[in-house]
Symmetry: C2
């Protein structure tokens, strides 16, 4: 009888500028893998049509958000254009302890806060668009906007992109199938990383001792 | 026009005790991946029937081996039961520089020597058999030998297994298809590790600057 190896879940952070295909890649990863779940953020911004409470966000009041932040209930949080966003710690920690992985669609600031709180559990991937032209095209397609608006978006994208050196893995999204396979490989590989497996010592003792 | 990202090859070390299925897994990896090549060792032991010079080993005299060792031409070498084995550095370094990965089927001592010489290029995987009974069965099947011989092999296996904590990844070979996929994932993931990609800075500059 060999003893059981368990696994602590890992936190997979995907960051990228707008227009790099991260949303599509996140969705495909969630669809293709039964063990990873999406982290749902809390936010103070208003619910949009088609959004669902608890699926897209937990929609909370500013007072509630501030109370949660004060109580240390967020793994990371930030305020952008007057709206606050935060990752509640409890559901994430519960999933990890149960051996499930958690996917985070957050920016470099969120990734950095997460790293400070949970370095060992974190695996970070930065997704890059394939070229300048393609990035510009995608930022255009997103809405039929003026050159100025696109230029502003490009500057925002450049700001986000400048943080690629802080990530463990960098994937250039030239082909969505290949990029998907690469992210999936990162997840599968990190699952068999020695340091993430619980009970290996006991397993090996049983293996060689015959218990 | 975006600039090109190149990749330095990586050294993938697979270690395991006899009877863990490493030979099968190595062969499948080489068959399924066009970019990884097997490192061929030099040895002083006699060529066996069915072995091919340059495929299985480079067969060299003791004098030649000692001269190569003295000239620092080995990445790692050891003498086992009077026969010497060593990994010639030049073909490995050539393959890595050309962006090809190199697979090493070596024991923990070889892996340790390799780590000292090429820490950044090294990715190490330890393969474990699924259970004590299965390991014993495989050590038996290998040759119809006495209990004493099997016991001696089990002790040797236990010695090798005791070095699992020195490896980056640990894979339990319960199902050869799953284990193969896991090794393949490790390889694919390590290929997109940020630190292994050359020219990312230039690529990102072109991406955001439009050059």
């Amino acid at each position: 009888m060999s003893s059981e190896i368990k696994r602590r879940g890992l936190m997979l952070v995907l960051s990228s500028p707008s227009g790099a295909g991260k949303t599509t890649l996140s969705r495909r990863l969630l669809e293709s893998d039964g063990s990873i779940v999406m982290s749902v953020s809390a936010t103070t911004r208003a619910m949009r049509p088609n959004e669902v409470e608890g699926r897209d966000y937990f929609f909370v009041s500013k007072e509630k958000f501030q109370a949660m932040a004060k109580a240390g209930e967020f793994l990371e949080h930030a305020t952008v254009f007057g709206n606050s966003y935060g990752t509640p710690a409890r559901p994430v920690m519960g999933a990890l302890a149960a051996g499930r992985d958690v996917l985070f669609d957050i920016d470099w600031q969120g990734a950095q806060q997460l790293k400070e709180k949970a370095r060992d559990d974190l695996v970070s991937v930065f997704i890059l668009p394939p070229s300048h032209d393609e990035l510009e095209r995608r930022l255009h397609t997103r809405a039929q906007d003026s050159e100025d608006v696109v230029r502003a978006r490009m500057e925002k994208a450049a700001g986000e992109i400048s943080h690629w050196p802080e990530y463990d893995y960098v994937i250039v999204n030239r082909d969505v199938d290949i990029a998907h396979t690469q992210i999936k490989s990162v997840l599968e590989a990190e699952r068999v990383r020695r340091t993430r497996q619980i009970g290996l010592s006991e397993f090996v003792s049983a293996l060689t001792g015959g218990e």
